[in-house]
């Protein structure tokens, strides 16, 4: 069981301001194949937990262990970022390239892919989210649903086996939500989804945790 442990957070504490801790002795594990949903009130530290996993924030206490190694320094997280895909709450934060094609290619290029391989990845990723034919479009002119699907494509482009999704259905219409449910059905994926949408979580996850007082239950 130990070797398919992907994420292991133990005794994590974190606060943005002194005497105002968001996470207190948080323990959380994700094993290969786990599909976990997290639900909880606003501002309870759900997003913060995902940021800690990606190394975007550093915990004040506790250890972050991912893929079997303790992750402390910025460099430790390079591998984490390549193998875990993170969907941000606000797609506008995630999309900044001049064209859809470059947007999807950004990740693969950063991870050393070049040439035709990148073109193929772009085509394949866009197809998976149902945006084929959008290659030359400008990302910030897309609709909200298209932006979210594009953001999904940019993450899938690096072929991660693990996904962290922060409110993937926020503000989306039903067909787009269905599309995301469809994408998540792919076998072999493990993921953590933060959402207030219980219906969506029931469709996509096996376990649903709640977040209370900085702890996962």
């Amino acid at each position: 069981m130990e070797n398919n442990l992907i994420i292991n957070l133990s005794n994590i504490s974190f606060s943005y301001r002194e005497n105002d801790s968001v996470l207190k002795n948080l323990n959380f594990t994700l094993h290969s194949g786990d599909r976990i949903g997290i639900i909880g009130p606003n501002g309870c530290g759900k997003t913060t937990m995902l940021y800690l996993i990606m190394g975007l924030l550093k915990p004040q206490g506790g250890t972050v262990e991912i893929f079997g190694r303790a992750r402390v320094e910025e460099d430790d997280f390079a591998e984490v970022r390549e193998r875990i895909g993170f969907l941000f709450q606000n797609s506008d934060d995630q999309l900044f390239c001049p064209s859809v094609r470059e947007e999807v290619a950004f990740g693969p290029l950063n991870f050393g892919k070049r040439g035709q391989v990148v073109e193929d990845i772009v085509d394949e990723s866009l197809k998976r989210v149902g945006l084929d034919g959008f290659k030359q479009r400008v990302p910030y002119h897309l609709s909200g649903g298209e932006k979210r699907r594009l953001a999904m494509a940019t993450i899938l482009a690096t072929k991660p086996r693990v996904l962290l999704l922060d409110e993937p259905t926020l503000g989306l219409d039903l067909p787009t939500v269905e599309k995301i449910v469809e994408i998540l059905k792919e076998p072999g994926l493990s993921y953590v989804i933060i959402s207030q949408n219980l219906e969506f979580l029931k469709k996509t996850t096996q376990q649903i945790y709640t977040f209370e007082n900085g702890r996962v239950k």
């Binding site: 990606m54 941000f88 934060d93 995630q94 094609r101």
Partner: protein, 251 residues
């Protein structure tokens, strides 16, 4: 959104490799800016007009741009002819208009318009994204390019943010007038925009880092020099040589 009126088109100028356009725009602007001879400035203006004609730009948008620049030039005409030392030409009240002053201001006007026309015809026709790519290929430091690109990319996001804030204010019955309340409100808007801009930039940086960004922006597209690019480069270089010869009074 920043409109790129001049970037769309299929003229001779639009088809030149953006790298060549950037290089020659720099050279022409530098020569026109530093020259001490009216003949060279005028020749530069003629060259600029030639570029503009070749680029087949919309006269309406062009004139609008020039009008903005020349508002500042008018300011110069209001001050310089009166304050530049030299032979008095005529008197208006207590002020002397000097011959040198008029000449100097005229020179500035010609130079200013020539440089703007060169920039519009050669740089503005690239479009921002080509410009950024070309600068990248010309080995301009990454940080400068990022700065340029993100200012462009997010200027309109900030504007949208402002419009949204302003709309909510109006919905809450705010009418701007000359009062402390109005000033305070606008102060808060600017403050909010600053903070939101800062937070958004942090967020964007996080998203980029998650996708493996390490400070280098890899390019997907590459430019290639065509035969016609070489030809155009030669023509433009010839123009540069002519301007220099003119400056040194060889022709």
């Amino acid at each position: 959104m920043i409109e790129e009126h001049f970037a769309k088109g299929d003229s001779l100028i639009h088809n030149i490799d953006p790298r060549i356009r950037i290089i020659f725009a720099l050279i022409y602007s530098a020569i026109i800016a530093v020259t001490s001879r009216m003949e060279v400035a005028l020749a530069g203006l003629v060259a600029a007009l030639l570029f503009v004609t070749l680029a087949q730009l919309s006269a309406k948008h062009l004139l609008r741009r020039l009008a903005v620049v020349n508002t500042f030039v008018i300011m110069l005409w209001l001050i310089l002819p009166f304050s530049f030392p030299g032979e008095p030409l005529w008197r208006i009240g207590p002020f002397n208009v000097t011959e040198q002053g008029i000449f100097y201001t005229l020179m500035l006007t010609v130079k200013c318009n020539a440089i703007i026309l060169v920039s519009i015809s050669l740089l503005a026709t690239c479009g921002m994204f080509n410009l950024v790519h070309a600068l990248n290929h010309l080995r301009v430091p990454n940080k400068i390019i990022h700065l340029l690109f993100f200012i462009y990319r997010y200027a309109h996001v900030m504007q949208l943010e402002y419009v949204r804030l302003h709309n909510t204010l109006r919905a809450r019955g705010f009418k701007p007038n000359t009062s402390m309340h109005t000033y305070k409100t606008y102060g808060s808007i600017v403050g909010t925009l600053l903070i939101r801009g800062y937070e958004r930039s942090e967020q964007i940086h996080k998203a980029m880092v998650c996708r493996g960004f390490k400070g280098i922006y890899w390019l997907l597209d590459h430019f290639s020099m065509k035969e016609s690019d070489v030809l155009v480069s030669c023509m433009m270089a010839l123009g540069v040589v002519l301007l220099i010869l003119l400056q040194w009074k060889i022709i």
